[in-house]
């Protein structure tokens, strides 16, 4: 009986100690997060961004392949046959890609980001962008390139009938050469040799245009909102300066610069 009493007292004490210890135990500051579930849902943005990245990678790889083939030593001469050959290659690469007009604009800006694309060689870059524009499904392509630091050459090369390419910003040399019936709108300035060798279609430059405009032009029309610095040797076609027809006519002569 006495033994039982003692046992009870001991048990009581042990229990009391335990409760004391429990109350003294440090509370886990992260205990509140035990059943915390991080809610991270998939939203359509994730897929759009991911798809855009995939397409951009494909476009970039195509460009790099073109450079490997055409500008092995990072030098590229603008000659008739080099342009044709580069364009054929570019067309071959871009036809394998499913992309949109927005992807082309993103590519133009990615060209200036050396971390993403190591080399911007204006000639092949312009040919490649032209191939992208000519092969895209959209009929109207609008490229907002005003903030681009580099003026891209050869943009609008062989733009086919039924396509309308609008460039916000300035373009470099050889804009719209070999145009094949498409409509090219430059909402800025264009440099020299614009519309050289174009066969048909329309080029509209909102501001000024450089030298040799329409050199060996076979047809089509060039409208210039500002000033035409100089005409090239034109075979056929029309050139307007501020709505005034300057070729054919006796207002301007080829290879004279104004």
């Amino acid at each position: 009986m006495i033994h039982e009493k003692k046992m009870n007292e001991i048990t009581k004490k042990v229990l009391q100690n335990q409760t004391k210890k429990e109350s003294l135990a440090v509370k886990n500051p992260f205990g509140e997060f035990d059943n915390f579930q991080f809610k991270k849902v998939e939203i359509p943005l994730d897929k759009i961004v991911q798809d855009t990245e995939v397409v951009m990678d494909k476009i970039r790889i195509g460009y790099e392949k073109l450079l490997e083939e055409e500008a092995k030593e990072l030098v590229w001469m603008v000659q008739y046959n080099t342009i044709i050959k580069a364009y054929e290659l570019a067309e071959k690469y871009v036809k394998e890609i499913d992309y949109t007009a927005e992807d082309i604009e993103d590519f133009c800006f990615a060209l200036e980001n050396t971390q993403r694309i190591p080399y911007l060689i204006p000639g092949p870059a312009g040919i490649y962008i032209s191939a992208l524009c000519n092969c895209v499904k959209d009929e109207e392509i609008k490229l907002k390139l005003s903030e681009l630091k580099t003026e891209i050459n050869l943009i609008g090369f062989r733009l086919p009938k039924g396509k309308r390419l609008v460039i916000e910003g300035d373009t470099g040399d050889f804009t719209g050469i070999g145009l094949e019936g498409g409509e090219l709108v430059v909402e800025g300035n264009a440099k020299n040799w614009t519309g050289a060798g174009m066969r048909s279609g329309k080029i509209l430059v909102k501001k000024n245009i450089g030298l040799h405009t329409g050199e060996w032009m076979m047809g089509g029309e060039i409208y210039v909102g500002g000033r035409v610095r100089g005409l090239g040797n034109i075979v056929e076609g029309k050139i307007f300066e501020r709505d005034k027809l300057i070729y054919p006519g006796k207002v301007r002569y080829p290879n004279l610069y104004y």
Partner: protein, 539 residues
């Protein structure tokens, strides 16, 4: 009464919102009237305002939304939005400035850039909340009244969140807006590392729409309505955050012109915050902000150099000098028990008043510093591009001022011909920086009389010279420096015969340290590193 009810709701919701956002250090939001800078007849009130971390909910907005959403939902959505600005975007003032600067590069207009940055940050915070938290934000957007731009943004949300916000294609005024939304939807909003390029793309896409809306408002003769989710301006940040942001931005850009552009764009707000150039720590009222000086000031604050203290002649230990009555709160250790009759009682007890003695070398102190800076034609104009010479001098200035010493500046080009600016010993940081930033161009010659009169025979003045050493009267300078015993630091930029001649002439003088800097960009690092070594060595 109603306001009190809303405060009660906030207090109920706040723990939940805090937990959701992982306990940001933000005070409990309050209910209060928000001043709106837009037209008074605006249909939609502003819902939330953040000033120096304090979120305020506008009761008028909550009541406007009452018929469409429960008050709890409105408040939770607003709080999620406000808190996400702290926890995700912009996160800090530097990011805000950076986003604004990138937007301005595209839109080229201060107001438009501010709008673009605001919309961009809102898209990011709301998308972040929708993706990572359970939030009422979509419900809020469904019920907000929208301007044309806000309608396009809502269409964007619809597309990137995959939630119907009640924006139909018909209301979206056609394909032009579809094109904008298509472009906006391709931006990786949640990728922080790509925000600078993302905001450029955002600005490019939305620029035409904002310009059109601005023109329309101009025709109507009104202002842009306030953003119901709160406008983003400098009020959102505390002084310290702005200080830190300016420092970080200066360090990130390292370009005077970029920094100047930003500071000039925010000059009104900065002035409101107290950033004039007169007054302590670059703050004060009523003066135009000199952005170039602020640039060097903030950039120099990012470097820190310790100065080895030297034993000073004038400073001695404190000694008991006279008695004064003890007052409650005065230190007990100064009580003189002999004259206090052993009692602690006001009126009876006396304490020792201590005075500094003229002990010799008992205490260490930091001497004052005379900075001689070359601003001849061969040096960079600090107001046109980053001058590492000025930056180096600015860092040295900060180091001395931090140690309660004074700094004098002798800015020279062709000093005998008047190409000089002299500032006597002072602790006015702005005056020192203004003198350092002065640029003369032209030839290089020192007028040693000026330096002598500034030093006035004081031995405890450090001399700090930054020059390219192409000094016409170099021999006279060498002669002068050989005679004085002060600590002298000479930093010369580039190797040239003059520099070699100088080095050879003073090589035996232990109190002269010469640092040659080959790359100008290294000046802050080399100078400061070497000076640290020099100042910490025993002379």
């Amino acid at each position: 009464m109603e306001q009190r009810n809303l405060q009660f709701i906030i207090e109920e919701i706040w723990p939940k919102v805090k937990k959701k956002h992982l306990y940001p250090e933000i005070p409990i939001p309050k209910v209060g009237k928000i001043e709106e800078n837009a037209q008074k007849d605006q249909e939609q009130a502003v819902g939330i305002e953040i000033k120096q971390k304090q979120i305020t909910i506008n009761p008028a907005f909550v009541y406007q939304m009452k018929d469409k959403m429960r008050e709890e939902q409105v408040i939770e959505a607003l709080l999620d939005h406000g808190v996400a600005h702290y926890t995700f975007c912009p996160w800090d003032f530097q990011t805000h400035l950076l986003l604004y600067a990138e937007a301005k590069r595209v839109v080229n207009d201060k107001e438009l850039a501010k709008q673009v940055a605001g919309y961009f940050m809102d898209v990011i915070t709301d998308t972040y909340c929708v993706k990572t938290k359970s939030t009422e934000i979509p419900q809020l957007h469904r019920n907000l009244k929208k301007s044309k731009v806000e309608e396009v943004i809502a269409s964007l949300y619809q597309k990137i969140w995959g939630i119907d916000l009640g924006i139909s294609n018909e209301s979206n005024t056609g394909s032009r807006h579809d094109e904008i939304v298509r472009r906006l939807a391709r931006i990786p909003y949640l990728d922080r590392s790509r925000w600078p390029e993302s905001i450029q793309k955002f600005a490019r896409s939305i620029k035409s729409l904002l310009t059109y809306e601005k023109e329309e408002e101009g025709k109507r003769g009104g202002n842009r309505g306030s953003n119901p989710q709160g406008d983003h301006n400098l009020d959102n940040y505390s002084f310290e955050e702005i200080d830190q942001g300016l420092r970080d931005y200066a360090k990130r850009t390292m370009a005077v012109s970029e920094f100047r552009d930003i500071v000039e764009d925010f000059s009104e707000e900065l002035k409101e915050m107290g950033y004039g150039m007169e007054g302590g720590m670059g703050r004060g009222r009523g003066n135009p902000i000199d952005a170039d000086i602020l640039f060097y000031m903030k950039l120099a604050e990012t470097y820190s150099i310790p100065i080895k203290k030297v034993k000073t002649e004038e400073k001695g230990s404190l000694h008991p000098h006279s008695h004064s009555p003890w007052e409650i709160g005065s230190p007990f250790q100064d009580v003189d028990p002999w004259t206090s009759f052993g009692k602690i009682m006001p009126g009876i007890t006396q304490i020792w008043k201590k005075k500094e003695g003229k002990g010799r070398g008992k205490l260490e102190g930091t001497p004052d510093c005379l900075i001689a800076i070359d601003s001849s034609g061969s040096m960079i104009n600090p107001r046109k591009s980053l001058s590492y010479a000025v930056l180096g001098a600015a860092c040295a200035t900060n180091a001395y001022l931090r140690n309660d010493s004074k700094v004098a500046v002798y800015n020279f080009s062709d000093a005998p011909m008047g190409g000089k600016d002299i500032l006597n010993f002072t602790n006015k940081k702005e005056d020192i920086y203004r003198t350092l930033c002065k640029y003369f161009g032209g030839g290089t010659a020192l007028d040693l009389e000026d330096i002598m009169s500034l030093m006035n025979g004081r031995k405890n003045v450090d001399l700090f010279i930054i020059t390219d050493m192409k000094i016409t009267n170099l021999e006279a300078l060498i002669g002068f420096l050989s005679q004085i015993q002060n600590r002298i630091t000479v930093v010369h930029i580039g190797e040239n015969p003059y520099a070699s001649r100088f080095e050879k002439a003073v090589e035996k003088k232990k109190n002269i340290s010469i640092f040659t800097v080959k790359r100008k960009e290294d000046i802050p690092h080399i100078v400061l590193g070497s000076i640290r070594e020099y100042w910490n060595s025993n002379l």
